[in-house]
Symmetry: D2
Subunit: 204 residues, 4 copies
């Protein structure tokens, strides 16, 4: 029976998995809606190599894995608590083509194959070193997507990527979801996320 090997897979969607289905540290996760936009910006095609730097809960890697069963995804994370949760999440969602690497990027990148796509969800204070390292390895038609929640990361990453010759755009995603409050549906805002997309040497 296939079910004995993939006990949970059947009940989850490819993308749009509910946030609370993931094990997380302090509810830190790329939320459902932002995750979907992030994957759209990543321009996923099957059989790409993707690096997920600062993987957190692994939610982006897991849904990317659903989109590209023949792709190879490398999820880097240095926080031991996150690493443990990523392992559980990868198992729960049967994300077989995601390789978890416990490392503090840019450490750990040297051993990986050159990426077609790089997602930077968290830079842990190493933003510039990470961009330098990614830039040396990104394939010619590749692209970088970076999610920023602070003005500092937004400003610095755009400037640094442009200084490296990238064509950069940003989308600010503001989501509010209704939450039940007695018989009412209260609009609750999520903090805005800036999704930065960088193409090398492109003019589009």
């Amino acid at each position: 029976l296939i079910k004995t090997y993939e006990p949970n897979l059947v009940q989850y969607p490819l993308i749009g998995i509910a946030d609370d289905e993931f094990q997380t540290v302090k509810k830190l996760i790329t939320k459902q809606e932002v995750r979907a936009v992030t994957l759209a910006k990543l321009q996923i095609q099957d059989d790409l190599v993707m690096w997920d730097i600062g993987a957190g809960s692994g939610s982006v890697s897991i849904e990317a894995s659903n989109l590209m069963p023949n792709g190879r995804i490398f999820a880097l994370e240095r926080n031991p608590a996150c690493v443990g949760y990523i392992q559980e999440n990868l198992k729960k969602f049967c994300a077989r083509n995601v390789k978890l690497i416990e490392a503090y990027a840019p450490e750990g990148l040297d051993e990986l194959p050159d990426p077609d796509r790089v997602f930077i969800g968290g830079a842990g204070g190493q933003l510039e070193d990470i961009i330098d390292a990614v830039d040396r390895r990104l394939k010619p038609e590749g692209l970088i997507v970076l999610n920023a929640v602070t003005l500092d990361t937004l400003a610095k990453s755009v400037e640094y990527l442009e200084d490296h010759g990238y064509d950069v755009a940003a989308s600010c995603v503001n989501i509010s979801r209704t939450r039940k409050l007695t018989e009412f549906k209260l609009f609750e805002a999520q903090n805005p996320v800036y999704i930065i997309t960088a193409h090398k040497g492109s003019t589009h």
Copy 2:
């Protein structure tokens, strides 16, 4: 050679196709970011039956088709100009499991298999009749996703779905994208879209 049969497919992503890659009437399209969130809310799994009512340019059907190659998608559209563009778009993106139906919903729904998922992108003034028709046919674990851009459709659809016993939530999606203006990146807002999700008889 596969390429002679699928000349364009290789260059497009599964989701996140650029808006201007679609033929549209007056640029009316579910935009890239909102399309991605819509697909996330649709909770796509492979081999579902989906109805896309008021398909417009077909962009949601096309990306849904990329996500479920074994699914069956029925795109209803009544506007002849849209119908023509949907045909071109389906061809361009090789969306073989999308069946286009030229009809003014709820007409045209009777012949279709019962849906697991229904996306209502446009109701053309027939919102209540469409919800009635969908409600009679939706499978027990199915769900309805409806995108509203007016306060009237937002209010009416939520009320009507709740009156039919659905558990309803809404996400308001506000996106602004940078656009190049001389050497500057101007933040340009898209109009907000309310993505309404309705589960029948559920309490979640």
Copy 3:
């Protein structure tokens, strides 16, 4: 010395008073930015009569009072804790032309002079009765401004006001403010507020 009688007034702005300068119940307050837009929508001129229904902390009444020293403002509130805080806030900000009325609207409205402006910040489940009562008393050129944070209040109030012959518009206000987080400035979202403006018998 004037200062002995108005010890604090000199240091506060007319509008844009910081949220944490007000005494509040559970931080429930019309926030600085939304308060400013609300006052703009109220179209304040000097010497108007304004009703503030569901006054909460009194912040809107207090800034309205700064804008119209010759106006008369009636702040209705039924929650005893709020009433106490409103008293303190009125005193702190020397809002001499705000009259606080402890009542559960629409009770308490009969004794007031007819209003030029009505602000409904909270309806406490009496939305329809309040609108009925306001409609009977509003002066011909008057207008109603209502802030909604739930989909239900948004939908119901717009529908009910239109049914009473008002011309209704709504502005959705989404604000995110930077907050310091170590050396970073994190964008923090406030929940969206829908500011509804209703003119009677107008077509604009």
Copy 4:
């Protein structure tokens, strides 16, 4: 009769004047809602000196003038078309304490009294020189408010102000207003505006 001398004043509100009441070049104006938040951030008290750099249509100066009849406001603008419209708008709204200065800032600032408040609505490519000039003249308890609509101005102004020792915060204001479309109310988004507030030597 007072009315013969102030024929229009009686019909306009102090703040929240409708956008289309102002003469503008290409509809470039700080919109009603953003203008209100800007004034709130400016922390207006009566009898301050305010500079409005890049005054555009003069709308911020005019409403600031309504808030501080004893203040002195200096509106700088270099675009001759704007200058003409500012003159008309000042006259229409009887803004007697706004002095219009046709100059390309930072030129023209030397002759002005030291400011308590500076609003920078447009820097015309001279952002750094303007901040330098303002910084030399701003009174100790003064503050600067700057509205940015591009990522570049947002990032550069925050960085430059912080480098000058200012405590800087930003509010992103996203507004959508309903617009009538046949019998529907369509939510129309305005482009987001970043309102930057800078206090010198403050820690709040």
